[in-house]
Subunit: 373 residues, 2 copies
Amino acid sequence: MNFKISKRVFFNALSIVSRAISANSPLPWLSGVKIEIKKGELILIGSDSDISIQKVIQSNPDEYVFEVKQEGSIVIEAKYILEIVRKIDADEITIEVVDGNLTKISGHSAEFIINGMKSSEYPQIDFTMPSKQFEIKADMLLKIITQTSFATSDKETRPVLTGVNFKSDGKVLECVATDSFRLAKKTIQLGVDNQFNITIPAKTLSEVAKTIEKDLDIVVCVSDKKAQFWIDNTVIQTRLIDGLYPETSRLIPSEFLYELTIDSRDILNAIDRASFIKSEGISIIKLSANANEIIISSKSSEVGSSLEKIKPIHYKGNPLEISFSGRYVFDAVRVLSGSVIKIEFSGEMKPFIIRNAEDDTVLQLILPVRTYS
Amino acid sequence: MNFKISKRVFFNALSIVSRAISANSPLPWLSGVKIEIKKGELILIGSDSDISIQKVIQSNPDEYVFEVKQEGSIVIEAKYILEIVRKIDADEITIEVVDGNLTKISGHSAEFIINGMKSSEYPQIDFTMPSKQFEIKADMLLKIITQTSFATSDKETRPVLTGVNFKSDGKVLECVATDSFRLAKKTIQLGVDNQFNITIPAKTLSEVAKTIEKDLDIVVCVSDKKAQFWIDNTVIQTRLIDGLYPETSRLIPSEFLYELTIDSRDILNAIDRASFIKSEGISIIKLSANANEIIISSKSSEVGSSLEKIKPIHYKGNPLEISFSGRYVFDAVRVLSGSVIKIEFSGEMKPFIIRNAEDDTVLQLILPVRTYS
């Protein structure tokens, strides 16, 4: 293998595929990037066997340098190749397998000779596209991920809750995440009919979010075994989480007794301040509402107490007192990213719903907390 | 105690004094900031008993709000008061001891009531000024600290080497740091005659460096027991390190057989790149010099090897090969902060000296490393 490539293009591609690579992989090959030149293309692969990322670079002389002298392949420790390419102070970098697995990486007046690994031992990863496919705009996919995946569970006791459920039955796509104390749901229209019900690990979605560039069309392909996100010449492939995702639609109340409309910055700031008072590491916030004012308060025998008044834009219903996890409500309001939010309550021990007043594709549901003070 | 103060001024002062506070202090009081109003002044103190920082704020109606309603004092957990003052969204903040140690911190529509600690239990810290004093410009003190303290030892086996030695005998101040593998020495002229020989912990100097603002005159006061840095209304006081500092002047060679003048950016970048090749976590760099070129190389059986050529500005002497710790030379060249540096060698196993070609007040000495390859 022997090729020359623009440093900028190569470094960018290496950074993307190495996102899938875990430093402490039990398989030594998986700590490396597979670099392959085949049919005039450069194919980079990084994987931790749960997530695999492949990036293909083709010749494009108008945009960058990429010249192949000899085809072949090698696996190089991700942290070495990234560090070397980052540090070489040259516009173009030459990569050449010089002897067995010894690989020369050179640019300008500097050269490195690095011990690589034989690529024939690297696991075969099948990037074939499953037949169920839909197209989605990058910023919409990003919104789905930001507005749901924070609500997944980080506990492995119910593995299925560590992912976001993507379910389509017709042209509608419903994306749901819950850790059983809160739930986030985003509903969008797809251009095509589909039938699937899969759960994608939150960890993969976070890598997808980091790799997405705005204004692109992303092709999502799903089967019972895997999901793929095709972003230009990059594909992120992930295993799915086994197990039936719980039926959540009956958990979402449809009738409410109290309705609070409020400036989202006001409530975010007030909760942020009040959350500072923690009991055993958790901040429980009390919201006391009436038509004239909203009081956000918190209390801990160790630290002290806080109290803050905010003016609601609108409040409908009798006075109400309800307590909840400050972090849960903060997270939910933040990802709605609207200037005005609407909170609908059914009672002090019933789940409540938070919505962006101007966007009905997304809802956040939160269970209140019982307090004894 | 009851006073009102500009948030900006109060937060800034709290940030400075809390630098001295250690989160895991064995004395509960030392995890707090002592806040005292006395004779119309606000006195803030933070301390971990090694370092103590005091900041005094006086009334200055043209610049900020500071109004005293009642004198008194309290100690408040540093992390609480900092967090609260940072988060309160108001220009002015009121602090009031409301009941026993309960302290109300309020601004705009938010108020916090925090459990404080009785200030009478806070250790008495004596900020009396010792009589040996000299004045120094902030940027000169900063240079002394940056150019020496990185070379102190981080091992407690010889405690005296964990500090920078400040020695004056007449109008000259010599500042020396060494970890016994390298040595940094800065020599400056003082305006006044002095006689002292003290060793200041590197940790304190790092706090001083963070607190210094440019263009100020700093008064340094020293005794056998402590050193003080007076920066405007802030004083940083530190204990000294006991024990005799080693006599280092005889370690510095005065005759050399080889002299290399080189662009400092060239050698920094080359060492940085080569340092990436580590053996057991340490990067040993080989420098091969002759009149035409300098070769910087490194090697590790695990990772591989590197080689880079740079053009010297000037080289005097026979060809030379010498090996050294990449980090030591990198650190030394970096803090010299000159565009051209001069390295003087006496032989491949003799200590060598690095200087800024345009500043003879500072020198860096480094011991080479023996290699067997």
